[in-house]
Symmetry: C2
């Protein structure tokens, strides 16, 4: 038979379609014996419920989406991929289906939401406010991750940038460094800004002034970072330690150091941020501030579920702690 339906099962098992439906969706509402009869018939017919029909009748889909708001790389960005894994794990375990897309296709996602297929979306990274409001106006639940948006009412999950920077700087100070420079990333609005500001703040707390030779902006590209680092290291009073706004930038600093024949960590200490997979690939391995992306993803999913379940008092912002991973580079 072509695609058995609930009717076929109903007929074969001798109970009504309503009961068959219950047997699958709310087993506890069906008497043991009846239930077994239904399952047996289903087995024989190789029946399994049609989720589309179910969604149609229930007027809900149990589908959510993860939209990575980032230009080029998306899933290729380890950071967002890790968050994704966190979301995925929790989502599947809660019987939610996950749709993933990137900024390039965000219209698609909005469209999907519009067509009532998606009940909630997790926005990764630099999400435009208009996207959030558009989504919310369609009554889809929205959660932000690794970004903050002022003035909008929605939960967001971020890592403790400030504390991460503090951990890195304090560690370097404890190792005797005083001329600590930061290679700050341009481009990533929220995170970059947070890390940069935290750096200035922590340095100030320790009475260290950050002048022009103490901070340099660069794009998050190894070579550009290497270039910027080289300039920093060419200064008369060159820094003895460099904090990269992320691991790629830190890798650039290491490249620059190597090209100049500087030894790590003796001549220069380098600390990265994100604790991505490249850290251990380098020799010496890169000391970096670990961010628990997977956890962030899981928390997103928790917030989204709370939203979908209509819970009250959902935390507006959730901060995930960071941890400095000390390795050979500093």
């Amino acid at each position: 038979m072509e695609n058995p339906t609930i009717y076929d099962v109903s007929r074969l098992s001798g109970v009504s379609t309503a009961t068959v439906s219950r047997a699958f969706s709310n087993p506890e509402q069906v008497r043991e014996g009846t239930r077994r009869k239904v399952y047996e018939a289903a087995e024989v017919l190789r029946y399994s419920p049609n989720a589309i029909a179910r969604a149609m009748a229930r007027q809900r889909t149990d589908k959510i989406a993860y939209l990575i708001c980032k230009k080029d790389a998306t899933l290729l960005d380890e950071f967002y991929a890790a968050i994704c894994e966190g979301i995925m794990g929790k989502a599947y375990r809660s019987d939610y289906q996950l749709l993933i897309s990137n900024a390039e296709d965000w219209r698609v996602t909005v469209g999907t939401a519009q067509s009532k297929q998606i009940e909630g979306v997790i926005l990764g990274g630099n999400a435009p406010a208009e996207l959030v409001t558009e989504l919310q106006s369609q009554k889809v639940a929205v959660v932000l991750v690794n970004h903050r948006l002022a003035g909008l009412e929605l939960p967001c999950v971020i890592s403790d940038e400030r504390e991460g920077v503090r951990q890195a700087v304090t560690y370097l100070l404890s190792r005797g460094h005083r001329r600590i420079a930061m290679l700050a990333g341009r481009l990533q609005p929220y995170v970059a800004g947070a890390r940069y500001n935290a750096f200035l703040e922590v340095m100030a707390e320790h009475g260290l002034r950050v002048d022009a030779s103490g901070v340099k902006m660069c794009n998050p590209d190894v070579e550009q970072a290497a270039q910027a680092a080289a300039e920093l290291l060419a200064l008369p009073d060159r820094p003895t330690a460099i904090l990269g706004a992320n691991d790629v930038i830190a890798a650039g600093a290491i490249k620059a150091a190597r090209r100049m024949g500087l030894r790590l960590p003796e001549d220069l200490a380098v600390v990265g941020f994100d604790d991505s997979s490249i850290c251990t690939m380098l020799e010496p391995a890169l000391t970096s501030v670990h961010i628990d992306c997977r956890r962030m993803g899981e928390l997103c999913m928790e917030r989204l579920k709370a939203l979908l379940d209509g819970e009250e008092d959902i935390p507006r912002v959730t901060v995930v702690p960071t941890e400095l991973k000390v390795r050979g580079s500093a």
Copy 2:
């Protein structure tokens, strides 16, 4: 009004629901003027078609899945993430929705397929034959990527492992290397085997015998690779070049070289495989065999579409060419 339906639009625009439906799904079948009326009414009501109902009526969902068959990391594996991006691009451009999941949750995917929500799936990596047959028995279209399964009738997309190895080895030979060793990856059945065999073959073609000191197995983990490389480099007649079965393994070899004070590429040449993002992070940058993962993903989607469209004569195996990217390490 709560969620306007096609009836509301029909009423407001004064045409039948069938016409409204056509106006959205097959605009060319509706006269210009009528169409405009429909769109206007829809606009006023803020109507947009309900995809669930549509799927229900059409008996098709336009949904496909990408299942990464790999233990731990999944999307975190750059290789599979890149394939994913390729699939994603093509899928969205063809109005297919993409579901992504990992091996851990493959039951979920099968379940999703069973519930008639998914029409095709792309299996990434080491997919078990039983999964394929199970899926096929549910009449879902299946395509394999970066893997081959003997005896099963389905399209697969792979990269030209053999040619990639040849490119790497030939290059090393051209640079005067004769004692070339391979650090072969254990664990990844298909790909690892292909690369390993290709190595033996190419070396043989050039009259070079590969003895115990010419190849070493190791897990695809930097430190384990470094360890294995160290052993290789400690041999009396140590290799002057090492080909890693992938970039991580190659990075391990570089670590070992550095620890022994060997200079790259003077004392040791290292070539990787995959051309992943770590290549440029290293200094000197890693020479590696580039695999066009994105293209592989796109091709998967093409094959899957062909399958779903019921086309005949779909290529059984599609091979994507590789290209050696020469950088500083060799």
